[in-house]
Symmetry: C2
Subunit: 371 residues, 2 copies
C-alpha cells in the first residue's frame, strides 16, 4: 500500500481515508447522524450522503444540543496563499449550506499570518492582499451577511493575540512537535501559529460570556489544529469544539495532487471558460485509450477525475449521477462526452460565481470583523 | 568561583560580570565612549562613571551618528508582574536621563503577554492591570510627554503581531533554544515571545519608512533578546539595534538576589517610610558585629548593600560618596549611621515619587500608544 502524509501544510501520496480516520482518531459519520440531519433539516446534503463529509468529532453532541434549542455557531477558514480553487470551495460551500439550514452564526478565518510564516517567499502584504481577494470568493458563495464574520488574522490581531496566548500557555513544544512534525529548523512563528487558529473555536463564547457550542467544517488535513484545540479549550473553561471533516477534492492530473505550483492541477475561481475546458480535457481519465476499447470494456469512474468532480461537487442529483456512472462504466458514455458534461457544469458555476464575486466587492466591508 | 545563571527570566548565584561580558559577547564601556558622552552632553552621568551602565553593543555607532545629526531613538521596557522596585527603576531612570540630554523619542514596552506566559498563576487581566500600574511609575520618572510612548503588548497587538511574525520567520527553534534554554516542556507562547520584544527595536523605522538608529538601555539580563534581534533585523532591512547594559541592582538580603516572592529583598515604589526603614535596617551589611569591632577594623562597603544603593542610585556626587566610603571603611561611620543616610535618601525619593505617580494618573492616556 502506498505511503501517504497529511498535515495542514502538505498532502503527499494517495490518501487512505480509513487509515487516516484511525491515525487522527476521528469518528466516521454513521446512519444515526444522517438520520438526525434528516430529522432536523428535512434532508441529507449530497456531500453527507456520498461521504464527502465523512468524519467528525462530537457532531452528535452538536445536533443533540441544537434539538434542545442550544444553537451552535460555525467556524471555518482558509489559508490565503493563492486564488481559491474548487478544492477550497468544497468545505466553504458546505459550511454555507449548514448556515442556511441551521440559521447560525459563522466565523471564517483567513490566516494570512500562517501563509506568511509557512511560505518562504510570500510577504505579509501579499498574503494580506490575497486574504481580501479570497474573501470576495467566500462572500460570493452566499453567506448570510448578518450572521457571518470574516477574520483576517493580521488585521484582527488585537483580539486574536490576547486569546491566542491563553491557548499557547497550555501547549508545550513537545505537543506541537508531535502533532505537526516540527523540527529544530522550524521557525518560532510556525510553532506558535496553531494558537491563532484555535481562537475562533471559542471566540463566540468570549463575546457572549458563556459557552456556545462550536462546529468546525473543514478538510481533514486541518484536523491536527483542532485536535490540539480540543485538548486545550476545556482547560480555559470552554467546550471542546466539534468538527465535521471532508475528504480532499482530488487534483485534475494523475496522482490526484492539487498544487498551486501546477496550475493545471486545479480549477481556480478566476479561470476563463477556455482554461476550464483545457484543464478538464487534460484531466486524468478512467476511460480507455481508444473509442473502440471504451465501447467494449467501458471506463472506470472510480479513478476518473472529471467524474469525481461531479460526485464531489457538481451533480447533486443521485439518480443523474448514477446514470452517468453506469453509462460510463458500460462504455455507453465516452470520455469526451463525460468531460463535456463536466466542462459545461463547471463553466456555468464559475461564470455565475464570478458575477457574484464582482457584487461581493460592494459588501465586503460588512463581512470583515475589525477591532 | 560560584556558578551563576543569567537569563531574562531568572538570575541565580553571584553574577561575575567579567564572565558575563564574555559569555554574552558585549563590549565594555571604555574611556573613548565616556569622552564622547562628555563631548556631546557636557557631562558623564554617574551611572556611566561608576560602570553601573558598564557594557554595550554599537554605542559608539549611535554616538557617532548623533554627532553627524542622525538622531537615534530609545527603547526600553519592563515585564509587568508586580509593582516596580528600585532595581526596575535603575535602567528606566537612566533612559529618562538619556532622553533629556539627547532630546530623542522613547518607546517603553510593557510586556504583559510575556509575564502571563512565563508566570504560571498570573492571568492576562492581572498582568495587563499591573502594566498600567507600572506605567504610572514610569511616567512619574519624568519622561517627556511629547517624545515618549508606552506600549502595552496585548493592547497594541494589532501593530506588534504583524511585525513580530516578520521577526519570527527568521528565528528557528534551535536558535531560541540555544539562546534562552527552552525545553520540550516550554510553552509555544514563550518560544514565540522574543519576536514581540524585538518589534520596538525597529518600530520607529517602520513608522518613518526609513532606518532610524535605535538604542536600548536595559539590565544585562535582557541581552539575549536583543542578541537575537541584532541577528534578525538586518535580514528585514533594518539596522542592528544598539544597546547599553546595566548591572543588576543587588537585593537587600544576603546573597543579593532580588525577588518578588521575598518582599524584604527589595524596596517597592509603593512602600511606606516605615517599610523602607525596616527593610534597610534589615539589609545585608558590610559592618562588624559590634560597634567596638567596627571602630577598630572598619566596615566593608564593597559588600554592604545600603552602600551599594548609594553608589548605584542615591548619591550622584562622587566626592560625597567617596567620603562615606572612606569613613565606613575606616570605622568612623557606623553601620547604623550609614543605614540612616540611606533610609533618608530613599524615603525622600520614594515619597516624591509617590506624589508624581499620583499626578501621572491625569496624563497616562497621553503616553499609551494605541492602534
Amino acid at each position: 500500500m502506498a505511503e501517504f502524509k497529511v498535515t495542514p501544510w502538505e498532502v503527499e501520496g494517495k490518501i487512505d481515508y480509513d487509515k487516516l480516520v484511525k491515525q487522527f482518531g476521528v469518528s466516521l459519520i454513521d446512519e444515526s447522524i444522517l438520520k438526525k440531519f434528516k430529522k432536523i433539516t428535512g434532508e441529507v446534503h449530497f456531500m453527507l450522503r456520498r461521504k464527502i463529509f465523512f468524519a467528525h468529532r462530537d457532531l452528535d453532541f452538536i445536533l443533540n444540543e441544537y434539538e434542545k434549542g442550544n444553537k451552535f455557531y460555525l467556524y471555518t477558514g482558509r489559508g490565503p496563499s493563492e486564488n481559491l480553487h474548487l478544492g477550497h470551495l468544497l468545505p466553504l460551500t458546505f459550511t454555507k449550506y449548514l448556515q442556511e439550514k441551521f440559521k447560525v452564526k459563522c466565523y471564517i478565518q483567513l490566516t494570512d499570518d500562517e501563509k506568511f510564516l509557512f511560505k518562504r517567499n510570500l510577504t505579509i502584504e501579499q498574503a494580506n492582499k490575497i486574504a481580501y481577494e479570497n474573501a470576495l470568493d467566500i462572500i460570493a458563495l452566499g453567506f448570510n451577511k448578518k450572521l457571518t464574520k470574516i477574520i483576517v488574522d493580521t488585521d484582527y490581531a488585537k483580539t486574536l493575540y490576547k486569546q491566542a496566548i491563553r491557548v499557547a500557555k497550555h501547549i508545550t513544544f513537545s505537543t506541537a512537535k508531535a502533532v505537526f512534525g516540527f523540527e529544530n529548523s522550524s521557525n518560532i512563528g510556525q510553532i506558535f501559529y496553531t494558537s491563532m487558529q484555535a481562537v475562533p473555536a471559542f471566540l463566540e463564547s468570549v463575546f457572549q460570556g458563556k459557552n456556545v457550542p462550536c462546529l468546525i467544517p473543514h478538510g481533514i488535513d486541518q484536523d491536527p489544529h483542532f485536535r490540539i484545540a480540543r485538548d486545550v479549550l476545556p482547560k480555559l473553561g470552554y467546550l471542546k469544539p466539534a468538527s465535521i471533516q471532508s475528504k480532499l477534492l482530488p487534483g485534475l492530473l494523475e496522482g490526484g495532487k492539487m498544487s498551486a505550483s501546477i496550475p493545471n492541477s486545479a480549477i481556480f475561481t478566476t479561470d476563463t471558460p477556455k482554461e476550464i475546458e483545457k484543464k478538464i480535457k487534460n484531466a486524468f481519465s478512467g476511460g480507455r485509450e481508444t473509442i473502440e476499447a471504451h465501447r467494449k470494456y467501458g471506463g472506470n469512474p472510480d479513478i476518473d477525475i472529471p467524474f469525481q468532480y461531479l460526485k464531489y461537487f457538481f451533480e447533486p442529483d443521485d439518480k443523474k449521477l448514477k446514470k452517468i456512472e453506469e453509462d460510463y462504466r458500460s462504455g455507453k458514455l465516452l470520455t469526451g462526452e463525460l468531460k463535456q458534461i463536466v466542462i459545461e457544469k463547471i463553466t456555468k458555476f464559475i461564470l455565475e460565481h464570478q458575477e457574484k464575486r464582482e457584487k461581493a466587492k460592494d459588501v465586503i466591508e460588512e463581512f470583515i470583523l475589525r477591532d
